[in-house]
Symmetry: C2
Amino acid sequence: MGSDSTFAAQKRASGGLPTTVATANGVRGRAASVIPRGRQIHKTFNNIKITILCGFVTILVLRGTIGLGNLVSSESDAENQQLIEETNRILAEIRSDKDPTDPDDQTGEFLNPNVTYTLGPRITTWDEDRKVWLQKNPEFPNYVNGKPRILLVTGSPPNPCDNAIGDHYLLKATKNKIDYCRIHGIETVYNMAHLDMELAGYWAKLPLIRRLMLSHPEVEWIWWMDSDALFTDMVFEIPVSKYNEYNMVIHGYPDLLFDQNSWIALNTGSFLFRNCQWSLDLLDAWAPMGPKGPIREEAGKILTANLKGRPAFEADDQSALIYLLISQKDQWMNKVFVENSYYLHGYWAGLVDRYEEMIEKYHPGLGDERWPFVTHFVGCKPCGSYGDYPVERCLKSMERAFNFADNQVLNLYGFRHRGLVSPNIKRIRNETVTPLVNVEQFDIRHSVHPSSGSRS
Amino acid sequence: MGSDSTFAAQKRASGGLPTTVATANGVRGRAASVIPRGRQIHKTFNNIKITILCGFVTILVLRGTIGLGNLVSSESDAENQQLIEETNRILAEIRSDKDPTDPDDQTGEFLNPNVTYTLGPRITTWDEDRKVWLQKNPEFPNYVNGKPRILLVTGSPPNPCDNAIGDHYLLKATKNKIDYCRIHGIETVYNMAHLDMELAGYWAKLPLIRRLMLSHPEVEWIWWMDSDALFTDMVFEIPVSKYNEYNMVIHGYPDLLFDQNSWIALNTGSFLFRNCQWSLDLLDAWAPMGPKGPIREEAGKILTANLKGRPAFEADDQSALIYLLISQKDQWMNKVFVENSYYLHGYWAGLVDRYEEMIEKYHPGLGDERWPFVTHFVGCKPCGSYGDYPVERCLKSMERAFNFADNQVLNLYGFRHRGLVSPNIKRIRNETVTPLVNVEQFDIRHSVHPSSGSRS
C-alpha cells in the first residue's frame, strides 16, 4: 500500500506537470503578446527542460517501482539470481513429480477416522521367528564380541531445507554421527524417504523403526536419533547390560511422567528399542494418534487436555507416547527404562555455554551433565524457517557443540579447533616418525573396549 | 560499471538542476525590472514547483539506487531477508575467527619456493612398524573374515556451500556412501578440516590420507572418494584379491597415460592406497607441486606444457600424479594398477541418461558400463557457484543417480522411487507377517558374501 500511494503521488506529480506546463504556457501565452521574441525562446527552452525533467522523473519512478535498476546490478548478482532461479525451477519440477496412473500416489486425502490405522499386518511370533532365523544364519549374529548389535537410525526430509543453512548443519550432524558410530562399531541408517505418507513429519520414525526391525533381524537394538541431536561425548558408551531386562530406553524423569503428567517428561529425540515382539506391539499401540488430518488434530486436543504444559497443536509422537505410557502404565512400564543418569538426550540450552568449563574441569566418558553424551537442539529447527529460538543463538550453539565433539575425534590425529566457534583447526601434537605411540595413547577404541577394534 | 555511469548521469542531472534554476532565476532576474509584480509571483511559484520537482527527483534517485523501495516489500520477503542476513552475519563471525597470538594462524603467506615442501618427517620403517603393531594388537586386525579392512575417506570444506543447493547434495551423497559402506562393512571418515593450509583444495586429500594411514594401522586400504561421486552399484565389491601385488588402484587408461600423456588419463576422484611404506613414499613424491601460491602456479605451467589437453591453471593433484607416474614410470608403475574393467570412477555424462535402459536390461553387481559402480559428477561443482555444465542438467542428473542407487537400498525394505527424478517412494512389496523371507531374498549382504554379515 505504501508503494501504491507513493507511486500514485508520483503519478499525480508527473501527471500534474503537463498541467503546470500548460498553465505556465497559458500564463506565458497570455503574456506572449507582450513578451519579445527573445523571451519566447527562453520560455520554450524552459518548457523543454521541464519536459526532459518529467521524462527523468518517469524513468526514475519506473526504476524504483519495477526494479529496472536491476538491469544495471553487478554481474555477479545477476548470475546468482539466475542460479537460484534455475535451482528452484528444477527442484520444483522434481518435487511436483507425480504418477497419475498410480492409485497410491494420492496426496491430500486423509484417513477415515472410523478406521483404526495400523503400521502393517499384525505380527505375533516375532521373537520365535527371529530366534530361529538367527540360529540358521550364524554369519549374522546379534551379538558381536559380547556386545549387542546396534543400528543407529536418523534422517531428514528428501527435499532441501527451507533455510539454506539447514542442509549444512544436517551435513555436519551426519558427520558427527558417522564419527561416533565408526569409533563404537555401530551401524547407521540415514533415512530420506517417507515410508508412510499418513505418518509424515515427526511420526515418520514409527513406520521406519518397524520396517528396519523386520528387515534387520541381526540387529538387537534400534537407536533412533533426531537429526538435530549431536554426540558430544565421543568416549561414552551406552551401558547396554543395564537394560538386559528392558525393551525400551528413553531419557526422561519418572516424577514428571507419573506425578505431573508433563508433556516433556520423556524425549523421543534419542531412544532405543529392542528388536522384539514387545516393541512391535508398542509401536502398534503408539501409532493410532499419528495419521495426519482430523485424526491427528483431534488426538492433539486430547493430549493438550491431559498433559501438563502442552500447547494446543496436532498430536506429536512424544506426547502420544507419554500419554500411552501413563494411561497403560501397567501394560508397558515394566519394560521401559526411563534413563536420566546420563544425557541420552541433553537439552542444549543448559549445556552449550558450559563447554569451556567442562574442558577445564572434566574429561570425555562421563556422559552426564559434566560431559554430556548427546546435545539435542530441540526447537532450533535449522532446516525450517521458524525455530523457537533466535537464529544466531542456535547456529552459534550448534557450531560450538559440533566443534566440542570434533575436538575429541581430531585428538587422535593431533589437531583441535582453534576455538569452539572456529571451523579452522590447529596442530596440538607435532608430526613424528613414530606415530604408533600416539595411536595407542589417543585412539578412543583402545581405551574404551580392548576388543572393540574389529567388531568381531 | 553500468550502474556507475547511470548513477553519474543521474547525479549530473540532479546536480544540474540548481544550475538551471539559477540560470532561470538569473534570466528572470534580468527581466524582473521590466515584469510586473503579478508576473514576479508567478515566476516565484514556478521556481517553487521546480524546486519541489527537484526534491522528487532526488528521492526517486535514492529509491532506485539504494533500494529504499525495499522498505515496502512483502512481510515474508522482509523476514526471509532478515533470516539470511542473520545467518550470514553469524557465519561471517565464525569464519573470521582468528587467534592473533597463534603464530600458526597465518593466512596469506606462501611457502618459500626454495624450500621443498614435505607432508611430515620422513618415515622409512612403516612396513615393519605396522607389522609389529598388528601382531601386538590382535583385537585390531587388518583382515576380517578374509577381507582386508578398508577405510573410505571423503569430505568437504568446513564452510557452507556458495550455492545453497550444494549442501543438500553433499548430504545426499553422504547418505549414499553411508548406505554402501554399511552394506559392505567398510568404515567411513568424513573430513571437514584443513589439516594443512598449504595443501588446501583438491590437494587436501594428500595430508589427510597420510594422517589416516599413520593413525589407523589396522586399515589395509585407504579409499579416497570425492564428495561429488556417488555409488550407483550397491552390490558390486572391489575385487581386492586382484590387487595383492599392488599398492595403488586408480581408474584410467594406460594408453592415454603413456602414449598420449593426457591430463585425464587417470582420475583421482576415487582411488585406493595400500597402507604401507610405498604409499607414504608416493605421497611424498606427489606433494611438492601442491603448496598454494607461486609453487602451485609454476607447477601448473609445467603440467600444462607436458600434459596433452591440459588447460592453463594452477597445478591440480590429478595432473601432478599423472606427470609423476609418467616421468618416474620405472620407480612407481609396477605397483600401480590402472583399472578400467569396472567404473571405480564413472564419468557421469555418458551414464546418467542410460539408467532406465540399464534397469531394463541388466542388474546390480556388474560395476561396469552396464551398471556403473561409481557415477562421478566431475565438473558439476554443486557446492560452488561456477560449474562447467548447466545447473539444471547437473542437478537433475545427480538426482537420478542418487535415486538409481537408493532404489537398490530400498529394495530390501520393499520400496522404490516413483521415478528417477522423484524424492517420493512407492511400495513394491506388500507388508507381510513373514518378513524374514524377504530378508533372505533381498538383503544384498546375503547374496554378496555369506560371511559379510558380522564383519568378524
